[in-house]
Amino acid sequence: MNAEAATAVRHQRPASGAATHVIRGRKVVGGKAAGEALVTHDTISGWGGINERDGSIIERRHEIVGQSFAGKVLVFPGAKGSSGWSAYFHMTRLNGVAPAAMIFNRMTTKIALGAVVTRVPAMTECEPDPFSVIETGDWVEVDADAGTITVTKKGQASTAG
């Protein structure tokens, strides 16, 4: 876990006793990270679909157009579009606006390479389906090495620090 993510966990750890859901899956890129979930049911384009300077979705007609995934646990079906996918997510890392972690359903070369070069924990082949559990704003801890995703539902997280 990087320093920023560790700080975020200390400050926004769920209140003790808050109900959590655990999802199990396969590691794509190892490591641990935590953050607020940003969930979209639309696949994401890298090149032409995101602004690599602020981590926002720019594709016309996209479910979360205008929102930024910087520092968020990005939950999405998968990658689509141009082969610039990895290069643009690579640039989000260099620009400090990468997602904290990635959780996705459909494996492709775009997303595998993109997750590898973004160098954030990434998981797939999850059970139960992340879309049935995680909603935008939930607090999500990803431990890709252990193959677990721990979800605290929105409203049950304490931000008191």
Binding site: G48, K80, S82, G84, A87, H90, T109, A112, L113, V116
Partner: protein, 424 residues
């Protein structure tokens, strides 16, 4: 992952630091995919050039920094050796001759030229086009490739029967230096069969209709493999180039079958092989009209910029544009850029097509396109294009309104200064 002795030697640095870093990336990437091993590739098409403002801060430190960071995902800066296998540069950021018209600075064009000298000496062939298959890189059926550029990948798999996944900047960099790529996805025969049947119930003949069909198919099947049934007209390179680019933009289609046309299926049954038909779609007049409407993002009819040639135009397309423009003059408020590979541009010059287009007030561009360069004529608010791919991407990238139509509609628009298209 299972590695051969030679791959282990490369990983361990016995063939230099660059190959070691390349192997490190290929192993991380292969394990992320769940690949069991790597496969030897003989044909790499990637993006290596330093030609955009975002690369400039790295390029100022030297091309070794650019290649190490962006083509190998390596924190260690390595000396880049000659490529190990046939490798070419795809489309790039600036036109080496028309850079002033594009609005690029002297500094940016010098960065690109300097990068090209560096890469050229290391064996990266400077095709500088999204369509390497139009200018001499035509892989053979069954050849394992490592290609970027979604419109080229879908052409490579579907029309040529060669085998590639959609690779990225980092994996093509690693493949160029090692001649290896993960053995996954489209490299395996069992992953190349159809998944969805698309019944084509309207006539699809001209280029615009192939683009519309491609855009529809991509939206329907996303990343799966469609099989088209019912097409009645024999497509050409131009039409399949356009169809594939559209399908790869609206979805993530990397391969399709048109039984009797594409090389891996003579019949619908052969296209599906051992797979069952997961989904059935019908493309009729209603779907055609809905798709056309989705590609229109313009409310203003006054058009500032007409963009033709995405993917890069074939020589026949340049010839048609010249024919439509001959003896005419485009509207003084409207710019027209026609894009074709540099190697074909030479033919277009020799044939006199460039002279006709330029006399009409148009520009023949090579090496790049507005979506890649993020450069459009100054003050552009509304564009018109014959490319479903460009109509899909350019409004988001350049914050413009977009009209989509046939090449004839677009040329008529350039002459009139207002949108002349419409679905007939």
């Amino acid at each position: 992952m299972l590695l051969t002795d030679y791959e282990k030697e490369m990983r361990d640095g016995q063939h230099g630091r660059a190959k070691a870093r390349a192997m490190d990336l290929l192993i991380r990437y292969g394990e992320a995919l769940g690949a069991e091993r790597l496969v030897e590739t003989t044909n790499v098409a990637g993006a290596f050039n330093a030609s955009t403002p975002s690369v400039k801060p790295i390029a100022e430190k030297g091309m070794a920094h650019v290649f190490s960071e962006l083509n190998l995902d390596s924190d260690e800066v390595v000396d880049v050796p000659h490529v190990a296998v046939n490798t070419c540069q795809l489309i790039t950021g600036i036109d080496n001759d028309n850079w002033r018209i594009q609005g690029a600075s002297e500094e940016m064009i010098e960065m690109q030229r300097s990068a090209e000298r560096y890469l050229g000496r290391r064996g990266v062939n400077m095709f500088a086009t999204c369509t390497p298959y139009q200018v001499g890189n035509v892989p053979v059926k069954g050849e394992h490739c490592a290609w970027m550029e979604s419109s080229a990948v879908i052409y490579c798999n579907s029309v040529l029967g060669a085998r590639t996944n959609v690779e990225g900047k980092e994996s093509t960099g690693a493949a160029a230096l090692t001649g290896r790529i993960p053995y996954w996805g489209f490299h395996l025969t069992e992953n190349r069969f159809g998944q969805h049947l698309v019944e084509v119930a309207v006539e699809v003949d001209d280029m615009m209709d192939w683009g519309l069909l491609g855009y529809y198919v991509g939206e329907m099947v996303e990343e799966d493999i469609p099989v088209l049934d019912g097409t009645t007209h024999q497509p050409t390179l131009i039409k399949l180039k356009h169809f594939g680019a559209a399908a790869a933009s609206s979805g993530g289609v990397e391969m399709y079958h048109i039984p009797g046309v594409t090389p891996e299926a003579d019949s619908v049954a052969q296209a599906f092989g051992p797979r069952r038909i997961e989904g059935r779609f019908r493309y009729g007049e209603k779907e055609r009209r809905e798709t056309y409407a989705k590609l229109q993002s313009a409310s203003d009819d006054k058009v500032d910029f007409v963009m033709l040639g995405c993917p890069h135009n074939s020589i026949e397309q340049v010839a048609l544009i010249a024919e439509l423009l001959e003896g005419k003059r485009i509207h003084h408020d409207t710019a027209l850029w026609v894009h074709t590979p540099r190697a074909l541009r030479q033919v277009a010059e020799r044939n006199g097509y460039c002279e006709i287009i330029e006399a009409a007030g148009g520009v023949v561009m090579s090496d790049t396109c507005p979506a890649i360069s993020r450069r459009v004529p100054e003050g552009t608010r509304v564009i018109a294009t014959d490319s479903a791919k460009q109509a899909h991407y350019l409004p988001a990238i350049a914050k413009v309104q977009g009209h989509f139509g046939s090449v004839r509609d677009c040329v008529a628009t350039a002459l009139a200064g207002t949108w002349q298209g419409g679905l007939r």
